[in-house]
C-alpha cells in the first residue's frame, strides 16, 4: 500500500501530461495541486494505519518501503511545499512546455517520496537517481538556451559523482549482510562500516550541496523559478540531509562521522554565507543560502540531533520556497535577477510583506520557527565545543546579513506598490508566509521534544543573547549594504564560490576531456597503430615498390594484413617466371629437408 504514495504522482504525471497540454491554467493549478494533496492524504492515512510495502525483484532482492517518524516529517513537508509551488507554476510559468513542467514537478514529488519512504539502500539509490534525473530535466526545461542545458548537465554530473558513494555503500552493505535493508546495517562493522559511512557522506554531501560540491546549486538555478523553489526547499537538496538524519544511528557507529559532518556543515554554512553575501544576483544569493542552511542541518546531525535537522528542514523549506517564488516574480518584472536592476523596480506590496516573513525566518529572527531551530543547532554545536558554537553563531549572523541584503535589495518598502495582477501567483507565497508564521509554535516550551519524541538540546542564555545580537547586527549590515550597494564588499573569489568550479574544471573536467579526446584520437592512432604500422609500411612500399596499386589497396585491413601484404610481394617476387629460378628453389627445398633431418639426427 505504501507504494501508492510514490507511484501515484509518478503515474499521474505521465497520465495527466496529455491532458495538461491543452488544459487551462486554472485546471492545471487545481489538478496538479490535487495530486500533491492526494499524496498528503495518503501519507496521513499511511501514518495512521501503519502501512508498509515490499516489492520482490528476485529471490535475493526486495525493495522495501516504510514510514518512520522522521520520514513522515520529511514526507509530509514535500507535497505540502509542492502544492503552492505547482499552483504558482500553473499560474505563472511560460505556457509553452508548462504541461511538461508540471508533470516533472509532480514526478519530482513522487520520486522524492520514494526516496523518503525507502527502507533499503537499493530503493534509495533508485529514488536518489530518479530525483537527480528529474532535476536535470527541470533545469534543462528551457532547452533552447544551450547554457541551461550545460548547467543541467553540470548539476547532474556533480550529484551523480556523489551517487557513486551510495553505490559503494550499498555494495559494502550487501557484501557484508547479504541485504540492502536499513535494518540490517547495524550488523556492519570494521572496514565495511567505514566504507558505508564514507559512501553515504559523499552521496549526501554532493546532494545537499555541501563543500566541495556546493557550486552545482548555482548551475541548478537555470531552471524555471518553480523548479528552483521545489528543488531547493523540499525535493532534491534536502535528500542528503534526510539520509544522514535517517541513518544517523548507523552512521554514528563510526567515530569520525559526527566530527566530519560537523566540519562539513560548519564550513559550508560559513563559506556559503559569505558567498551569499557577496552575490550580485538574487537567485544566486538564495542558492548559496540553501547550501548554508543545509550546512546548519549537517551540524545538527553531526552533533547528534537528527530530528533537529528535520525540523530545520521544514522551517527552511517553508521559508525558502516563497522567497524563490517572490524573487522569481520580481526578477521577471525587472527583466533581470541582478540586484542592480531589481533595486530600481517597484514590487507588489503583498508579495513584499510575505517575503518579509520568509526573509525573517531565514535570518533566524525571533519568534519565527527558524530562529528556534537555529538556536537549537547552536546549542547542539555547543555540546562539542564552545568554538563550534561560536562559529555556528557566526553562520547565523551571516544568514541574517544575506537575508536582509536580499530583502532590502528586492523588496525595500520604499518601492512598494499595489498591483492588481499576480493574484494567483501571490496566493502561494502568502500561504507559505502563513505557514512560516505558524512555525513559531516551536517556541512553545517543550513543544518539539514532547511532540516528536526526540531529545532536543537545551538552550543556553549566552548563546541566545549572542545569537540575537548577531542576527540584529547582521540584518543591519545586510540592510545597509542593500541600501548602499557601492559600499558592499565584493569579491570575485566569493562570487564564484571560492573558485571551486574553476578548480573542478581544471583538475577534473578538463583533464578528462583532454584525456578522452586524446584517447579517442589515440585509439585510432595508437592502439590501432599497433596493428596498423605494418600497413603504413606497405603503403610506403607500395608507393615506392614495383608491384603497387592493387585496386583493393584501399581495403587493406589494418594489421597483420599489412605485414602479409609486404610478405606477399616478397613471395610473389620469388615467382619470377624463370624456370631456372624454380630449379634453384627445388634445390633449396632439398637442402631444407637435409638440414632438418640432419638436425633431427644430430640433436
Amino acid at each position: 500500500m505504501l507504494w501508492l504514495i510514490p507511484i501515484l504522482p509518478l503515474l499521474l504525471s505521465v497520465l495527466l501530461y496529455g491532458w495538461w497540454r491543452n488544459a487551462g491554467r486554472a485546471a492545471l493549478a487545481v489538478s496538479a495541486g490535487l495530486v500533491s494533496l492526494a499524496v498528503v492524504g495518503l501519507l496521513v492515512a499511511a501514518g495512521l494505519s501503519d502501512w508498509s510495502g515490499a516489492y520482490r525483484w528476485s529471490e535475493t532482492l526486495t525493495l522495501q518501503l516504510g514510514l518512520s517518524g522522521m520520514g513522515l516529517i520529511f514526507a509530509l513537508t514535500v507535497p505540502a511545499v509542492a502544492i503552492p509551488i505547482v499552483v504558482y507554476a500553473a499560474a505563472h510559468e511560460q505556457r509553452q512546455g508548462l504541461a511538461r513542467l508540471l508533470a516533472l514537478l509532480t514526478a519530482f514529488v513522487g520520486a522524492m517520496e520514494l526516496l523518503l519512504l525507502a527502507r533499503d539502500l537499493l530503493t534509495l539509490i533508485i529514488a536518489w537517481e530518479l530525483v537527480g534525473a528529474i532535476s536535470w530535466a527541470l533545469i534543462a526545461h528551457q532547452g533552447s538556451d544551450r547554457r541551461r542545458v550545460v548547467h543541467a548537465n553540470w548539476a547532474f554530473l556533480v550529484t551523480r559523482f556523489g551517487d557513486l558513494g551510495l553505490y559503494i555503500a550499498a555494495a559494502a552493505a550487501y557484501s557484508r549482510t547479504g541485504s540492502f535493508a536499513y535494518s540490517e546495517l547495524a550488523q556492519l562493522d570494521g572496514a565495511s562500516l567505514h566504507i558505508l559511512v564514507a559512501g553515504i557522506v559523499l552521496a549526501c554531501a554532493s546532494k545537499s550541496a555541501q563543500l566541495p560540491f556546493s557550486p552545482w546549486l548555482f548551475a541548478a538555478m537555470s531552471g524555471p523559478t518553480s523548479a528552483s523553489a521545489l528543488l531547493h526547499s523540499a525535493t532534491m537538496v534536502p535528500a542528503g540531509v534526510y539520509l544522514i538524519a535517517q541513518l544517523h544511528g548507523e552512521l554514528a557507529e563510526v567515530a569520525w562521522f559526527g566530527p566530519l559532518a560537523l566540519v562539513l556543515g560548519l564550513s559550508t554554512a560559513l563559506a556559503a554565507g559569505l558567498v551569499a553575501l557577496a552575490q550580485p544576483r538574487a537567485k544566486r544569493l538564495l542558492a548559496a543560502s540553501t547550501s548554508a542552511q543545509l550546512g546548519l542541518m549537517w551540524i545538527a546531525v553531526g552533533a547528534g540531533y537528527p530530528m533537529l535537522a528535520a525540523l530545520h528542514f521544514v522551517v527552511h523549506a517553508l521559508a525558502k520556497a516563497p522567497l524563490f517564488l517572490a524573487v522569481g516574480v520580481a526578477a521577471e518584472q525587472a527583466g533581470s535577477g541582478r540586484f542592480q536592476r531589481l533595486r530600481r523596480h517597484k514590487v507588489s506590496t503583498g508579495l513584499a510583506l510575505a517575503s518579509l516573513v520568509a526573509a525573517l525566518a531565514i535570518a533566524g529572527m525571533f519568534p519565527l520557527g527558524g530562529a528556534w531551530t537555529k538556536e537549537a543547532i547552536v546549542s547542539a554545536a555547543g555540546h562539542f565545543s564552545v568554538w563550534v558554537a561560536i562559529l555556528t553563531l557566526l553562520a547565523g549572523g551571516l544568514s541574517a546579513a544575506y537575508a536582509a541584503r536580499l530583502y532590502f535589495s528586492v523588496f525595500d518598502w520604499t518601492r512598494w506598490s499595489h498591483s492588481a495582477q499576480l493574484r494567483l501567483e501571490r496566493a502561494p507565497v502568502h500561504g507559505f508566509a502563513i505557514a512560516s508564521l505558524a512555525t513559531a509554535v516551536l517556541w512553545l516550551p517543550a513543544f518539539p521534544a514532547a511532540w516528536l519524541d526526540a531529545a532536543m538540546p537545551a538552550f543556553k542564555a549566552w548563546e541566545l543573547t549572542a545569537s540575537f545580537a548577531l542576527v540584529v547586527s547582521g540584518s543591519v549590515l545586510g540592510a545597509w549594504w542593500a541600501r548602499h550597494p557601492a559600499a558592499a564588499f565584493r569579491s570575485h573569489l566569493l562570487i564564484n564560490w571560492f573558485g571551486i568550479p574553476a578548480i573542478a574544471q581544471s583538475l577534473c573536467v578538463a583533464p578528462i576531456r583532454v584525456l578522452s579526446t586524446r584517447l579517442a584520437r589515440g585509439d585510432d592512432a595508437v592502439v590501432d597503430a599497433g596493428v596498423r604500422w605494418t600497413s603504413r609500411l606497405t603503403t610506403w612500399l607500395a608507393r615506392h615498390g614495383r608491384g603497387a596499386g592493387e585496386w583493393l589497396f584501399d581495403e587493406i585491413p589494418q594489421g597483420l594484413a599489412g605485414l602479409s601484404g609486404t610478405a606477399s610481394r616478397y613471395v610473389t617476387g620469388l615467382q619470377t617466371g624463370m624456370v631456372h629460378h624454380y630449379y634453384l628453389m627445388i634445390a633449396v627445398g632439398f637442402l631444407t629437408v637435409m638440414i632438418i633431418l640432419a638436425a633431427g639426427e644430430l640433436f
Binding site: 614495383r546 596499386g549 592493387e550 585496386w551 631456372h580 629460378h581 634453384l584
Partner: protein, 205 residues
C-alpha cells in the same frame, strides 16, 4: 688392378669427361653426340657389372635416341652445327655450386653410407631372372610402364604433329572467347592492366 678395373676406370673417365663436355661445346649436335658417348660408357660399365641386358639396351636405345635428337636439332633449332659460338647459360656460378654440392652430398652418401654388402651371386642368369620378374612379381609395373608409353605416344602426337586429320592440327586450339565469337580472356592483357593500374595507383597516392 685387374682388367675389369682398368676398363671401368677408362669408361668412367670417358663418361665423366664426355658428360662434362656436353655443356662445354658450341654445337648442340656435338653435345648430343658427347652425351651419347657418355651413355655408351655407362652402358659399358653396366656390362662390366654383369647387367648384360641393360647394357645392351642402353646401347641401342641411346644410339637411336641421340640420332633422333641430332636430327631434330638440325631440323628445328637455330645454330645447328655450331657454326656460331654458343654460350647460352644462366646463373652459371650457382649452377656450378649446385653441381658441386650435389656431388659432395652424393659422394658423402657413397663414402659414409652404410650400404649392405650383398654381392650378386656368381653364375645367376641375369636375363632369365629379369624375364621372370617381368612376367611374374612385377608384371603390373611392367604393364603400367607400357600403358605409360602408350599415353606418351598419344601426347607426343597431339603436341607435335603439324597436320591433323582435318587440316592444320592447331587451328582453333584456343580457349572459347569471352563473348561468343570473341577473343579469349587474354592473359597478357592482365599484365597490361596491372601496369596501368600501377601507374594509376602511384599517381593516386
Amino acid at each position: 688392378m685387374n682388367l675389369v678395373d682398368l676398363a671401368f676406370l677408362v669408361n668412367a673417365a670417358i663418361a665423366v669427361y664426355s658428360g662434362w663436355r656436353v655443356f662445354r661445346t658450341d654445337s648442340m649436335v656435338r653435345a648430343s653426340f658427347l652425351l651419347l658417348i657418355s651413355f655408351l660408357a655407362v652402358g659399358a660399365i653396366m656390362l662390366l657389372l654383369g647387367a648384360v641386358y641393360l647394357g645392351i639396351a642402353i646401347f641401342f636405345m641411346m644410339a637411336v635416341e641421340m640420332m633422333i635428337m641430332a636430327l631434330f636439332m638440325l631440323m628445328f633449332m637455330m645454330n645447328p652445327a655450331g657454326l656460331n659460338p654458343m654460350n647460352m647459360v644462366h646463373q652459371e656460378k650457382l649452377s656450378m655450386l649446385a653441381g658441386a654440392l650435389a656431388f659432395i652430398a652424393l659422394g658423402a652418401v657413397a663414402v659414409f653410407g652404410d650400404f649392405p654388402s650383398r654381392p650378386r651371386p656368381e653364375g645367376m642368369d641375369v636375363v632369365v631372372s629379369l624375364g621372370r620378374e617381368l612376367l611374374g612379381d612385377s608384371m603390373l609395373v611392367f604393364e603400367s610402364a607400357g600403358v605409360t608409353l602408350l599415353a606418351t605416344m598419344i601426347g607426343v602426337v597431339v603436341m607435335s604433329s603439324r597436320r591433323g586429320r582435318y587440316g592444320d592440327a592447331n587451328e582453333g586450339s584456343v580457349p572459347p572467347g569471352l563473348e561468343p565469337d570473341g577473343t579469349p580472356a587474354d592473359q597478357s592483357e592482365h599484365a597490361g592492366d596491372r601496369a596501368e593500374q600501377d601507374s594509376h595507383q602511384a599517381h593516386h597516392h
